[in-house]
Amino acid sequence: MDDKVLNEIQNLGDDDLLVLYHKIMEHLDYLRSCLIDTSVDVEGGEITNE
């Protein structure tokens, strides 16, 4: 992580810092929801080695 981001975090006000924390948590939830299970094929069957 670059110094610029760290610097920005350190310069945020307390309220903004808390908002940022919750936004990151929300974003992580969003990212997790974007993961696609690639072990399942489009029609729902297991993809085999064939």
Binding site: G13, L17, Y21, H27
Partner: protein
């Protein structure tokens, strides 16, 4: 201070949303197999991007968390408990000096009254022996070593104490007690009365000891009788204020969950409801700045007054009783003095019975041993002590009225309470009800002293005992004049607790805002606390 809107992390989030949303996941071209393959590859590409971003945002989260932990440590007020301990100890010491300087009896000042009063019918043998030992130790501290001669109140106390002074071992004393008990079932009472008698016998020495001790302690602590109470009240007021406004304690109230910070924020329904309750218009927000300022100042006074009033209700039964007794003080004074004379006479008779007993044992000039006379004198002694016990109880009942005889008709409620301190037996009886059973007699009396010498007491000293008006009405009227919505119904003995809850709510806000913290700062600390859990962990900083 940088702005959240221009923060790189927020921008990265936006980029993520755009990038993820714009991923092409499907193709119209090719066979079913080709389409599946396309989707599979697109999903893997997108997952790879998402995984990379997850790692990045996990790092961001860690950094933000570390910054929150660092700030929590910085924002969290310092615990000043050890700083206050010294001052609280000093307050306790000054209260002890006030007792030493007051008109209470010397036996009260030296704790001998507490020792004697703790001997009751239900007292166990171990407790009884411990009381006797404490009594002996207290006298030793005064430079008086009690001997068997002091315990010849009856032939039974002499027998018991002769063994006790030789060997106070519990098993040994159990045997001694059993043997005496058959001849004298009142042995506990007789020992108790013996101790009382000793305090009368050495009253002069006791007075000298108390006076010398007081002088020494006052000199050592640079205290004079004139400035004692003012020093106590001023120090107690200061430390009370410091503790009420202490940032650490007030923050802990919220961190521990005893209070909910959400209720205390500006415009929170609970806060609005409590503020509106005392606003004369019914809506605090409708008051202008000047009115709000008067409201807040009057509310601070109301908090102090209601605390005083609540304690007053606690002790009101005593005031009612003391006023009744005051009315009969003149006749009680004569009765008290006559009772004293009667007791003196009966104590002499008791001594006579003891001499008869010695004679029947063949002790003394021309004395001849006689078992019959021994038994007779023992029976007579048991009866005589019971008679004396009744007389002493009657004397104690009259004592408070006798003490009230020095009070003038212009006395305040406070003066009446102070007079009640002169009678230990009256206090003992007053605090024997269930309302006071959670604390020991010593603690209850200490509470009464603390109440009487509370620096915030006002109406106690101002209201005359015979005034034909109601304290609750006077106080409600006073705060109405100060433009607060306070009615007698709101502060009666039955309702004061719920009203106090609202007043305390506002008082806590006022104390926080007067201190070096604020409701907003506590809110931030609470939110940070929720994130980082318990105490900040230095290792992550």
């Amino acid at each position: 201070m940088s702005s959240l809107d221009s923060c790189t992390i927020l921008k990265s989030m936006e980029i993520d949303h755009n990038h993820i949303d714009s991923f092409v996941m499907e193709t119209e071209e090719g066979t079913k197999r080709t389409k599946e393959k396309f989707y599979h590859e697109a999903a893997e590409n997108r997952n790879s991007y998402v995984n990379k971003q997850q790692d990045l945002f996990d790092q961001y989260l860690g950094s933000v968390r570390n910054e929150i932990t660092r700030r929590y440590s910085k924002l969290m007020p310092v615990d000043k408990t050890s700083e206050y301990e010294g001052e609280l100890e000093e307050v306790g010491k000054l209260l002890f000096f006030i007792k030493l300087n007051s008109d209470i009896s010397d036996t009260f000042k030296t704790d001998l009254d507490f020792i004697i009063s703790s001997i009751k019918e239900e007292t166990s043998l171990e407790e009884l022996n411990s009381c006797i030992q404490r009594f002996l130790d207290a006298f030793k501290e005064m430079g008086l070593s009690l001997t068997l001669d002091d315990f010849k109140y009856t032939m039974f106390t002499e027998k018991y104490m002769s063994s006790f002074l030789e060997n106070s071992d519990s098993n040994h004393m159990h045997d001694v007690f059993d043997k005496i008990f058959f001849m004298c079932p009142d042995i506990k009472l007789q020992l108790k009365m013996n101790l009382m008698f000793i305090t009368q016998k050495y009253a002069k020495e006791l007075a000298e000891y108390v006076s010398t001790r007081k002088l020494k302690l006052f000199q050592e602590n640079g205290i004079t009788e004139n400035d004692l109470v003012s020093r106590y009240t001023s120090l107690r007021f200061d430390i009370g204020n410091k503790i009420a406004m202490d940032e650490y304690y007030n923050t802990q109230l919220f961190l521990s969950g005893k209070k909910k910070i959400a209720d205390f924020l500006e415009n929170a329904p609970a806060r609005v409801k409590n503020y509106d309750m005392f606003a004369i218009t019914g809506i605090y927000a409708s008051l202008d700045e000047e009115e709000k300022s008067s409201y807040n100042s009057a509310m601070m006074g109301l908090y102090v007054t209601l605390n005083e009033l609540k304690k007053y209700y606690h002790y009101e039964f005593m005031i009612k009783d003391l006023v009744e007794k005051y009315k009969g003080k003149d006749s009680a004074k004569t009765s008290y003095l006559n009772k004293k004379k009667e007791i003196e006479k009966e104590e002499k008779n008791r001594q006579g019975i003891y001499k008869e007993y010695l004679k029947a044992n063949g002790i003394g000039f021309l004395a001849k041993k006689s078992d019959d006379k021994i038994n007779q004198s023992m029976l007579k002694m048991n009866e005589q002590v019971r008679k004396l016990d009744s007389l002493y109880q009657e004397l104690q009942d009259l004592e408070i009225s006798y003490q009230l005889s020095s009070i003038s008709e212009s006395a305040s409620i406070y003066d009446l309470f102070i007079a009640s301190l002169k009678s230990f037996s009256y206090l003992e009886k007053s605090f024997s009800s269930d309302d006071f059973s959670e604390k020991t007699l010593e603690e209850n009396i200490n509470d009464l002293f603390r109440f009487l010498y509370n620096p915030n007491n006002a109406f106690l000293r101002e209201i005359n005992i015979f005034a034909d008006y109601n304290v609750t009405d006077i106080l409600a009227d006073k705060y109405k004049l100060l433009k607060l919505n306070v009615t007698s119904d709101m502060i009666s003995a039955e309702t004061i607790d719920s009203t106090m809850e609202s007043v305390s709510f506002i008082n806590l806000i006022q104390n926080i805002e007067r201190s070096n913290t604020s409701i907003h700062r506590i809110d931030v600390i609470c939110k940070m606390h929720e994130i980082i859990g318990e105490a900040p962990d230095d290792s992550v900083i």
